[in-house]
Point group: C2
Chain length 490, copies 2
Amino acid sequence: MPRAATPPLVLPALAPEEREPLQRQLYRHLRAAILDGRVGVGSRLPGSRSLAAHLGVSRNTVIAALDQLVAEGYVESRRGSGTTVAVPPVSLSAAAPVATADGAGQRAISRQTRRLVSSEVPVSRGLLLAFAPGMPALDAFPSRDWSRILARRWRHPAPGLLGGHDAAGYPPLRSAIAEYLGRARGVRCSADQVVVVAGSQQGLDLTARVLLDPGDQAMVEDPGYTGLRGVLRACGAVPVPVPVDDTGFDPGLAENLWPTARLACVTPSHQFPSGATMPADRRLALIAWAARKDGWIVEDDYDSDFRYAGRPLAALQGLDGGHRTIYCGTFSKSMFPALRLGWLVVPPDLLPAFLTMRRLADVAPSTVTQAAMADFMDEGLFTAHLRRMRALYAERRQALLASAARHLPGLAEVTAGEAGTHAIAWLPAGWEDLAVAVAAQSQGLVPGALGLYRLQPGRPGLILGYGNMPAETIDPAIRALRQVLAHWSR
Amino acid sequence: MPRAATPPLVLPALAPEEREPLQRQLYRHLRAAILDGRVGVGSRLPGSRSLAAHLGVSRNTVIAALDQLVAEGYVESRRGSGTTVAVPPVSLSAAAPVATADGAGQRAISRQTRRLVSSEVPVSRGLLLAFAPGMPALDAFPSRDWSRILARRWRHPAPGLLGGHDAAGYPPLRSAIAEYLGRARGVRCSADQVVVVAGSQQGLDLTARVLLDPGDQAMVEDPGYTGLRGVLRACGAVPVPVPVDDTGFDPGLAENLWPTARLACVTPSHQFPSGATMPADRRLALIAWAARKDGWIVEDDYDSDFRYAGRPLAALQGLDGGHRTIYCGTFSKSMFPALRLGWLVVPPDLLPAFLTMRRLADVAPSTVTQAAMADFMDEGLFTAHLRRMRALYAERRQALLASAARHLPGLAEVTAGEAGTHAIAWLPAGWEDLAVAVAAQSQGLVPGALGLYRLQPGRPGLILGYGNMPAETIDPAIRALRQVLAHWSR
């Protein structure tokens, strides 16, 4: 037979002025009293009538709170014996961690993740600041068209658009991407080979997870994209550096350095970040290497939509016939980064593996963005936007090179490649580019530091993104950069 | 000195009627001639004038094609010596795989991925068919409101909405989610602890990658969600089964079975798929277990928005204070599955690790869906939609139970729990539920088979999703199911 609750239960007063309903407040107070041991297992709670009178609330309020406690199993209600506590108190103090700012290594997380956190490079958040790398012209995005397309598409959506789960992506978008890549980039693929992803970062992550086992080596360009090295490490693989030169990744050097590696990750169109273009002989040598080794090439074609001399270079994938190349691209530069849409082009026999991994990673891309993007392409808006942006970026690039030629001689040598939306300001040997980049922030400049992208020491430099800089802002920004560099050179 | 091209180069005729520009066609033909060895390294190509005459095209067309070959490094152009081939032929046949339908294991992909592909369970695609599990009422989604909000939000987007890269998610959405979870689910968290993800699948994937090393054990409910087991295996961990009973996951049994495991993945509100609710004593025991083991609880609260008896049970996370619980949820059921938005609630000291992994996985969620979702919540449309859906699903659930009571006695025992959008039709012992589910497909019924969700043998059953079934379609579907079962029982 249950004991009566002694000493009598003391509950905090309820607060009718709070947004939280009274029954919810009472439920919380009673639950707390049970869990901290103020009422022990088997104790009988006061009756609903007396609780209501004591607290000055309606009996219905009390009954609702007690019902909730019964439903969750904290108390039991038996006819004739009232409501009794069903669970023992619990000490939560053992479970409470000491919260620390950098505490991520202190509790049991995986060793791989711990290494990733400690090796993460600082990320520049300079959205509207000068020289932010990788940022397209946000002010030139045709948002009225985009808004109209979103609205039209979602006013009367087909059930498939709401419920669909196509891991490879929305079929009309896959077709539009395949058509665009064939026409503009010389990629050889059918729409079936296109896997829509949430930007090239997810493309690289899926590729690493599909192709690599823990301990496998993966050759990466040095300097190169840090997000790639991160996903390689995240799946336990080992990124091994291949220094790039004026024509990018050198397959012969790579094979000498890392004879057992079977994966090469490259940016042949416009090496990131140096801007070099890989010529045909190296492309062919890389394809031959992959065939010899039964290996793979990951081609990250991250910004080749914009080219200012000649027509765009055909993708390596097209040269290979897509047999040993996983081709990766993104709409982040051609549309806007926060869209989070991109693609992989995958050899047909690898599709089952990629789709399995894609389903596990996040099931499928959202149809909200995919359907709008497909319409944007089908209506010709994408091609028109690219054409306008190419002219705009050519102008900004020209302004940057002209201003740098005026203001930076003796301080930095600026090269811009023939594509993309960034230039490199090569600094004098021995300078610490990361320290220079940090110093530049005080002037509202957020260039990237080449050193952050290197695995091995090399020539210092700053990455100057010009995509999001109106032409008239470029000369003042370059002059501000001169001040920073001049100060540094003293 | 370069040799002249002998024998003379024979090129296919150009096709002016094709969409591909003539210069691009010529570029392709010349490149093919170089790569297949018809013109060797050092050979001189015919002059642009004679090529133009020979092919019947303008000289500008030829020059453009040659310029492209120069730019890509296939040929070199020197004043006085004409245009010569710069690369040797390449045999691509070695690189060509034999494409096979089930070829995913034949080339060098990772061992982990190969296992995943071979163990993948068949996925039902029955979007509009009867009993599809996990599908909400697509016909009742307020798409006009959704369309209006998308349009308004994207007509004049702030630059931050286009360029923003917040790995944890769009801040107003994180606030709206934290507020909703506190009010409706008893989750204790600040907006800072909310990480917006692309649905609960990505939430589980990130959690597994952050917490687990290869070889680590992770306790999972049996039967339980296959997508969870998949992500555990994908990161090299070992899912170990804990049989559930009428009140779900049993922490005492779990600790006896797997004394060294330090991660427990549970669905306390509404066990998937059985529908059981975990009572308070087990919740407290699980929290105490996690504290003792320095372990973690992953709480997947996948469908607790809809509850038909009493008010929603508070989340386990709130009871734990969020110290050792990673709480995971999704808008797939409350909005629509193809939206691909959900959340994690993460203990503060684990945030750096989760955000590092999130950035590597896909940088950040799209602002297109996030901003619209935030507006949808802030305007009260989400709460209103949930209220309408709760009434709708209660009606559908009642129709299902009533129809099953009429038509299925002796064939199946139907239980629906008090929450969610699916019921279980428990089949007679010894029946193969997967075979029954396949047989049902011939009647347009796509129930889930409980056996697909089990790691160890157990009572057979069918998962009957009723969320997307208008009430008037339920009785005919149950009668069709009776036919299938009656046929099976003969």
